[in-house]
Symmetry: C2
Subunit: 245 residues, 2 copies
């Protein structure tokens, strides 16, 4: 097994750049941390290198991608304060879908925990794709990846212009639901459809006007008090209802 202990090793310098969105986009790579995420990434075939703390005994040591590294190297690359024992360098690959029947579109979701949680929910409920606007937080941000709990490796997540994408979806026969607190019907009163897309918006501003204009129907979730819901909770309720009701 190859060993790297120096921070001045060119590979470490290159991987250190993966802590910014720009660095990740240029290298088409991102870093993940921890056994569970690495296992999920291995299943999807996108793992280029597994960095294991020197002296660690673990089945991953037998993998061809394994590299032994010092604690100093892991500390340099890790974004958490905890002492990482294993990390991996993964390729950014846009997964495609053959046919899609249920998709979620996100217009400017900014909080990493919210984006990660919505991707995780999408996988649990059998959605085929998550489509992000360019204004969303980067999918490969370490907090987003952690919040997905590995679900990002199990679903197609693409970044597109949402207006163009909604046009394409409607041509494919999709019914597209927007979400809004104004001029919307309650979730229970929606026009029921099998092949549908759901659009959720930014934490503060919601779905942008120009995107709402393209939707077939705007939904709002029933509420007793006119408080807004957290967007990951609203997404969960709407995705569940569209899928199982």
């Amino acid at each position: 097994m190859k060993t790297i202990t120096s921070l001045s090793n060119p590979l470490i310098k290159a991987w250190k750049k993966l802590d910014t969105k720009k660095g990740r986009r240029e290298a088409k790579e991102f870093l993940i941390e921890g056994e569970h995420l690495i296992e999920e990434a291995l299943k999807s075939g996108c793992v280029k290198h597994i960095l294991l703390l020197e002296g660690l005994h673990h089945p991953f040591c037998a993998k061809e991608q394994a590299i032994q590294v010092s604690q100093k190297v892991l500390d340099e690359l890790s974004s958490t304060n905890s002492k990482a024992q294993m990390m991996a360098v993964c390729s950014i690959v846009e997964q495609h879908v053959q046919t899609r029947n249920k998709v979620v579109l996100l217009d400017g979701v900014q909080d990493p925990g919210n984006l990660g949680t919505i991707v995780r929910t999408a996988v649990s409920f059998g959605y085929d794709q998550v489509i992000l606007s360019k204004e969303c937080v980067d999918l490969y941000n370490e907090k987003v990846v952690r919040s997905t709990q590995g679900a990002l490796f199990a679903i197609s997540v693409i970044t597109r212009d949402l207006v163009e994408e909604i046009h394409a979806l409607k041509q494919e026969g999709f019914f597209v639901y927007g979400t809004s607190l104004h001029e919307a019907v309650f979730l229970k009163d929606r026009k029921k459809t099998q092949r549908c897309a759901l659009v959720l918006g930014n934490e503060g501003a919601g779905v942008s006007e120009q995107v709402l204009e393209e939707c077939n129907q705007n939904l709002m979730i029933e509420m007793d008090q006119f408080e807004s819901l957290n967007v990951a909770v609203a997404a969960g309720i709407a995705m569940y209802t569209l899928r199982y009701e």
Copy 2:
């Protein structure tokens, strides 16, 4: 208006101790930050002092609780990196309810964002009370308070032994739903009841066995893939379904 600019002022030293759970419990006080939270706290009548950056023009300056403080003082007390302009010292008061018809019980929820989000959802859906086990993260933790977006001032949140509380609820005529991935019925197939309590559990371990044993029926959320859901998302879906279906 009173002015404090020195970090050695005894009030500042006392308020600095509110950054730990122990300090908050001893003083029966907690700190909040930002205009929206202070407005919500004022409505509930629990605000003891409002700390405003010197030179700031704001309607709060006219309040009897207003104290002018230096940026240094705000930086000392604030838990965020952003330059706070206003904070408040609030009393910890356990709100009680006259009658309760829908309650949520949380068994060891540890993530501050999850607890705050569940309290926020409970208010939106008209639940009467949130009951926490002693193992839950502290409600007055600054991250919890921020995630509630002020909802903690609008609902009764109490800490109790959950086994004892479930006994009391059943005597009041409540039907108590546990949540579990084993020996549970799907949410759609539950016994439907008006007066009900819902128990959600820890992010990793779920609801403890001894609490599940006291529940009338265990629920699980329908899923396509056997992934678990984030607890705040699961809570949102179950609370919505019990309230509006």
